[in-house]
């Protein structure tokens, strides 16, 4: 059993009681809510005559359903309009701290939480979205939950949960040039599998993680769930504290030293014990791209696609299904694959550092004929900062569309979708069949610079070879 890890310390600080069933009641320090997974939860609250228990620990924004080209109301999609109206009504009725468009702080829930300084080391976080582990980058335990659990957190600020085991994933050495945090997280999933993390919290550690920016760490933790782990985190350090200092909801200067002392005390001890330890070498990681229908089906960009026989027998039907859906063959190189659409955005890769890295590549050329390329900043604040730096001009000059903040083409809930058999180079997190809004559509996951390079060349490209 794990001992003296950040996981153990945060857990211990937040346990309310053990329930009659043997599960634990865990206090949730920050509840992030959005339009998609809350309307039914608020309805259930009202049916039971309950309200929101801790308004000071609850915030709301809108991200999944909104169009990113025009924000004019009412939305053309009546369902999207009704969903937005439901959140507005619930926010007003319950007096929620709602970061809507007028606030200037709207954006993808996993982008604005950190950006506003709402997420602090040592907290528990919950959100009705599976990519909530993003906030683990700050040294939190962050749980993706379903709508009935959203109801529970609204009503009680608590979840009923079972403890997890803790696996430390230590990535030593250093990354090679051209290798991004996205490649690190795809590499981990490829190595440990899409179900390898079931029952575990992942502690990402080692020199590669320690030298990574907060935004890079968010990208790594974001995809913990794609490896089966509901929770992923990084121990807080000076990089974490530097990021938080001065942000709107970060502790003010008079409380700062006390906060940092507390945060440091929550990190895993040097002699902490883990249920499992996996070591990897950063130098082994290449720019990585998925070729299949799970985030674990990926290769280094220069590698040939694997033979079906290389997989365990039980997984071969899924591999065959992947090759059939993607219309690819073992032995093929991904650099032969043309793309129709390029999407730079999502809770995985829509922060300022992602846009800067993509813009550096966009400067080298123009979007290939017949490729549609869109850049979707993660929040209104990211958008404003990027525009201040002139990144929007760089993208537009190269032929990319520059959009408003939202989830966009990650998930097929808004007008940004693939059409028919289109194939996209996407910086999002899921290449599931139908994920980007077309049942026949195909998704290749990769880093922002790799996606920008694919836009320019019109096919998957090793960003290191782009002149």
């Amino acid at each position: 059993m794990a001992k003296n890890t950040l996981y153990d310390k945060v857990w211990d600080a937040h346990v309310v009681t053990r329930l009659p069933t043997g599960q634990y009641q865990l206090f949730i320090g920050l509840h992030l809510t959005h339009e998609v997974t809350t309307p039914q939860a608020f309805d259930m609250l009202e049916e039971r005559g309950l309200g929101v228990a801790y308004l000071d620990r609850t915030v709301a924004t809108v991200d999944h359903i909104i169009p990113t080209d025009s924000m004019a109301r009412p939305y053309a999609d009546e369902q999207a309009e009704a969903m937005m109206a439901a959140l507005e009504t619930n926010a007003k009725r319950h007096n929620l701290n709602f970061f809507d468009f007028a606030s200037g702080r709207q954006g993808i829930v996993h982008v604005i939480g950190p950006e506003l300084g709402l997420v602090h080391p040592g907290m528990t976080v919950a959100c009705g979205d599976s990519h909530t582990a993003t906030h683990g980058a700050f040294g939190t335990l962050a749980f993706g939950i379903g709508t009935s659990q959203v109801r529970d957190v609204l009503a009680s600020q608590c979840l009923s949960v079972d403890p997890l085991r803790v696996r430390r994933i230590e990535i030593g050495g250093a990354l090679r040039p051209g290798v991004e945090p996205k490649d690190v997280t795809l590499h981990v999933i490829r190595r440990l599998g899409v179900k390898g993390g079931i029952g575990y919290a992942y502690e990402y550690a080692g020199s590669v993680i320690e030298s990574m920016s907060m935004e890079g760490r968010m990208t790594v933790c974001n995809m913990a769930i794609e490896g089966g782990a509901r929770v992923g985190y990084v121990n807080p350090d000076e990089t974490t504290f530097d990021y938080l200092r001065g942000r709107e909801y970060a502790p003010d200067e008079s409380a700062w030293d006390g906060a940092v002392t507390h945060w440091k005390s929550m990190a895993s001890d040097a002699d902490a014990q883990y249920d499992d330890l996996v070591r990897m070498d950063g130098a082994d990681i290449a720019p990585t791209v998925t070729w299949g229908i799970t985030p674990g089906q990926s290769v280094g960009v220069g590698e040939p696609l694997p033979a079906v026989e290389e997989f365990e027998e039980a997984d071969r039907p899924t591999v065959e299904r992947a090759y059939a859906h993607m219309d690819l063959r073992p032995g093929q190189k991904m650099t032969e694959v043309p793309v129709d659409v390029v999407f730079i955005g999502s809770c995985t890769n829509s922060r300022l550092s992602d846009l800067r890295a993509a813009a550096e590549i966009a400067k080298k050329g123009t979007v290939a004929a017949r490729v549609k390329a869109i850049v979707v900043p993660g929040s209104q604040q990211v958008k404003a900062q990027a525009e201040e730096e002139g990144l929007d001009d760089v993208f537009r000059a190269a032929g990319f569309e520059w959009r408003n903040a939202g989830c966009s083409m990650c998930l097929g809930m808004n007008p940004d979708k693939l059409v028919g058999r289109q194939i996209s180079a996407s910086t999002s997190n899921r290449n599931f069949i139908g994920r980007q809004g077309s049942a026949e559509g195909r998704t290749l996951l990769m880093s922002p610079p790799m996606a920008a390079a694919a836009a320019i060349e019109g096919r998957v490209t090793d960003v290191r070879e782009l002149a």
Binding site: T17, A53, I198, M413
Partner: protein, 202 residues
């Protein structure tokens, strides 16, 4: 035991084959735009059951003889991916009352429990046999017994597993947790007041 307790479920079974079937495949995101769960029972596996032009494909959920099944037989890591509770909700509203598989996406398994649907595990080789039996004869009646932790039906008797806390929560009818959690409000307040970040670290 409360009236919500779930101890055994009997009915015919429907098998969906394959590892790593994600919740986007169970219920495509466009159906998440409705602000109620009420219509979801129409749409499980919608994009696998129908061609883009609406023509029905061969799919277990399109077979007349599978209509009315209460048990769903699956393989490894079923329900991985998105946290959408709409996935178990749509299966439940279609008629599924228990899911039996080798392993489950963790959020999916939790969401099943939250709506009183057991997600129970069987060994891979046992699962293949159960699926083959249901495919060959969709009229076989199976019983999932949460006391004996066993499924029986046709010629099969197979041992089942699930986390003991989850089993108790279903057995005792504590799967709807809101009331229990709200009932501990005074202790919740104590935890809240002791956490340094709720008072700005002062």
């Amino acid at each position: 035991m409360s009236e919500l307790g779930v101890s055994s479920i009997s009915g015919t079974a429907i098998a969906i084959h394959g590892n790593d079937i994600d919740t986007d495949r169970v219920i495509p995101a466009r159906y998440l735009k409705a602000i109620t769960f009420s219509e979801l029972g129409r749409y499980p596996f919608q994009d696998e059951r129908f061609e883009p032009d609406g023509t029905a494909r061969e799919h277990p959920f399109n077979r007349d003889e599978c209509r009315g099944a209460k048990l769903l037989f699956v393989n490894e890591n079923f329900g991985c991916g998105s946290s959408r509770e709409h996935a178990p909700q749509c299966l439940r509203q279609w008629g599924i009352e228990a899911v039996v598989g080798v392993s489950f996406g963790e959020i999916f398994a939790g969401n099943c429990e939250m709506i009183g649907v057991p997600a129970v595990r069987a060994r891979p080789e046992d699962m293949v046999r159960l699926q083959a039996a249901a495919d060959a004869d969709p009229s076989i009646e199976f019983t999932v017994d949460l006391d004996a932790m066993r499924i029986t039906g046709g010629n099969e008797t197979v041992e089942l597993e699930m986390p003991e806390n989850r089993r108790r929560s279903l057995r005792e009818g504590h799967w709807d947790t809101t009331g229990i959690l709200v009932g501990n409000a005074p202790t919740v307040r104590e935890v809240y007041e002791r956490l340094p970040y709720t008072s700005g670290y002062r």
